[in-house]
């Protein structure tokens, strides 16, 4: 059997996603925006990223969503689609987009929960449309021709080189 990648992201779609994220940063007065897939992979980021360990953030956000998703099922809910964590300085607003993408907004006193909610709602619709296309393209890649170059040409030697140090 072959592995079907969860997600294949082409440059043009990545650009569209980043554009929506950047717009959301400015419209919601947010500090930063992250898009993470449910498996913990960081897809896009925008805003003030300095000092944030984005890889760890992605993995923990996905863990958080997975755990609360498990809780929801215990209670007979399909999912808890909106999460809000309030901090003394920064707060986190987390929503699910297109069922499998997590939209994380970090904001401080320059914004408010109400404003973030409002802007996230609008941006989510746009993101959902883009991601539906991404999922379709991902499926098409694997139905038709596989990943192709350069992945079809990966050799054992290439992999050995990764571990050569």
């Amino acid at each position: 059997m072959s592995l079907t990648p969860q997600l294949v992201l082409f440059e043009e779609d990545h650009k569209k996603i980043v554009a929506v994220a950047e717009r959301l940063v400015s419209e919601a007065n947010a500090k930063a925006i992250f898009l993470v897939d449910k498996n913990g992979q960081l897809i896009a980021e925008a805003g003030e990223l300095k000092g944030i360990d984005t890889t760890s953030l992605a993995s923990l956000v996905a863990g958080n969503i997975a755990a609360t998703g498990g809780l929801a099922k215990i209670l007979g809910e399909e999912e808890f689609p909106i999460h809000f964590h309030q901090g003394a300085r920064d707060s986190l607003h987390i929503t699910l987009v297109a069922q499998r993408i997590i939209l994380v907004v970090i904001f401080d006193e320059r914004s408010s929960l109400g404003l973030v909610r409002l802007r996230v709602k609008k941006a989510s619709q746009r993101l959902a449309e883009i991601f539906e296309q991404v999922f379709k393209k991902t499926a098409a890649v694997f139905d038709e021709k596989g990943l192709g170059a350069p992945f079809a040409e990966i050799s054992e030697q290439d992999i050995d080189n990764l571990f050569s140090d």
Partner: protein, 196 residues
């Protein structure tokens, strides 16, 4: 189920260390974290109890270099091994690209190994995956302990047809740790080649 980002020219893969409680999954990750070059690793996260038992998962991101112009990143996760954390194990297995099954070689943990292997097969099946078809390597850990069972006996149950790569290890000293990781990384990347 890797994530391929053509824009950032990255391949991201998720590797999960599975096995019974106290078999050494976290110890594997800690050793990798200590030994790998600063430039190749991110922060290691452990969501553990006060007595250092894994509560949810450990996470270690590795960035090993480039293959054909693409950065290869591996996200290493461990599951909590204790039986009653099964809900958490299921969550962590989602989207897995490859599994290291860490067996505890001690005689008194023999049954726990078999139970954990059954649990892995069952939890993968729940998300529509067959262990048979997933990149997987087996590590017989704690070979340094006096009560370690002969490898052949462990292999007879955990790798009966010898189809999987398996390694003897002593994760606390690091023996076998990188061999195990390397073997799995190789299987996962070669699987990309076959993707269609």
């Amino acid at each position: 189920m890797a994530f391929i980002n053509y824009s950032a020219r990255e391949i991201n893969c998720k590797l999960v260390y599975y096995g019974p409680g106290l078999c050494g999954k976290t110890t594997n990750l800690k050793f990798i974290y200590e030994k790998i070059a600063e430039s190749a690793k991110g922060k290691m996260i452990s969501l553990a109890t006060e007595s250092e038992r894994t509560l949810f998962f450990d996470f270690l991101p590795l960035s090993l270099g480039e293959i054909r112009g693409y950065k290869t990143r591996f996200h290493l996760y461990t599951v909590p091994g204790q039986v009653f954390y099964d809900a958490s194990r299921k969550l962590i297995l989602k989207g897995v690209d490859g599994v290291v099954f860490v067996a505890d070689s001690q005689e008194e943990r023999y049954e726990a190994n078999l139970e954990s292997m059954d649990n892995l097969v069952g939890n993968l099946r729940e998300q529509g995956l067959e262990l048979e078809r997933l990149p997987c390597v087996i590590q017989y850990n704690k070979r340094d302990l006096p009560n370690a069972m002969p490898v052949d006996e462990l292999r007879a149950e955990l790798n009966p047809q010898g189809k999987r790569h398996d390694f003897e290890a002593s994760a606390s000293s690091g023996k076998g740790v990188f061999e195990t990781l390397k073997a799995l990384a190789k299987l996962v990347l070669l699987d990309l080649r076959r993707s269609k």
